[in-house]
Amino acid sequence: MNRETVQLWLNEGICSDAFESKLQDRLEDVGVVYHLGRNIEGTFCGGNFTLDLVWGKEIDQDVFTGLSDIERLDRVFYSVIDQGCRSVQQHNTVWRTLLLRVKPGFESTIVEQFERDLLAMPEYMQGIRRWALSRVNSDLQNKVNGESRWTHVWQQEYQKLDDLMGEYLMHPYHWGWVDHYFDPEFPDCLVDSQISHCFCPLQRSLIDEDIWP
């Protein structure tokens, strides 16, 4: 079981609806479990779409071959460290994907504390309904797509956009605690300043044992 998240950029002038339909046909032919979401305005350093995939035994490395509407792809394979949920399955929520890179040279105990601090965010914020923190699977990444510039994938599901833009951003646990890992003015900043922050509508939860094993 291999999990992948993809940021997908379209060539200029391409009709998103037509492309979406083409890509869905391709993914269904391949038989991979997937969710395709069109990124919402406010996304930065992300593509037009967020595509999440769960591969069975075999990864189809050529799944995007021949789709000439695609300008570029950022394919990231990962392994979940921990995930959780605080609500039953909900529909039509918001899916946020943060891709980040921990700068090299930090001791593993420091990186693990950073991971624990991120994973504790839902304990303070009601709006985070489901969440998963993962490490980029570098072996697989190298095999499939070359070395990734990301080390971690931090995904959350929100009931509504206001929960992401409001509670999540405005909570003191965010700006007054976790943020020091991301702010280069702090001596203990460990995340590279270039991050990818993407969010899209989510029709069905991706953090669910039945759908997303």
Binding site: G84, P122, E123, Y124, H171, P172, G176, W177, D183, P187
Partner: protein, 116 residues
């Protein structure tokens, strides 16, 4: 209102040059980014050979969005400034603070509904 406190431990005799560097390389763009210098303190109030002087810089930021704005406005000069400070300082910490009578958020009570 959010306060930021920089705590910079300097080798004896480095205080004056650090303040000059702050004035020249950091303060002008700090104000533009919404970071206002409120106070500067140093301890101990004497240079003792071999003992550090700790410099505290207290800053104010209007609100949470302004706090994020400080980062959004960061330039390469800001990074260079802190790299140079860190090359001199034996230790540095940055604290984020609110008024002590603020009711601090705690973990949610309904954690039982969160499961991994």
């Amino acid at each position: 209102m959010i306060s930021i406190l920089d705590e910079i431990q300097l080798p004896a005799g480095e205080l004056l040059s650090m303040l000059q560097r702050l004035e020249k390389d950091y303060l002008p763009q700090a104000e533009e980014r919404g970071l206002s210098l409120v106070a500067q303190w140093v301890s101990p109030p004497v240079v003792v050979p071999g003992k550090p002087n700790t410099l505290w810089l207290q800053w104010q930021v209007a609100d949470v969005m302004s706090y994020y704005g400080i980062r959004a406005g960061q330039t390469e000069e800001v990074s260079i400034f802190w790299e140079e400070v860190d090359a001199i300082a034996s230790e540095r910490r940055r604290h984020v603070m609110v008024a002590a009578d603020t009711v601090l958020p705690t973990k949610l009570e309904n954690l039982s509904e969160a499961k991994s």
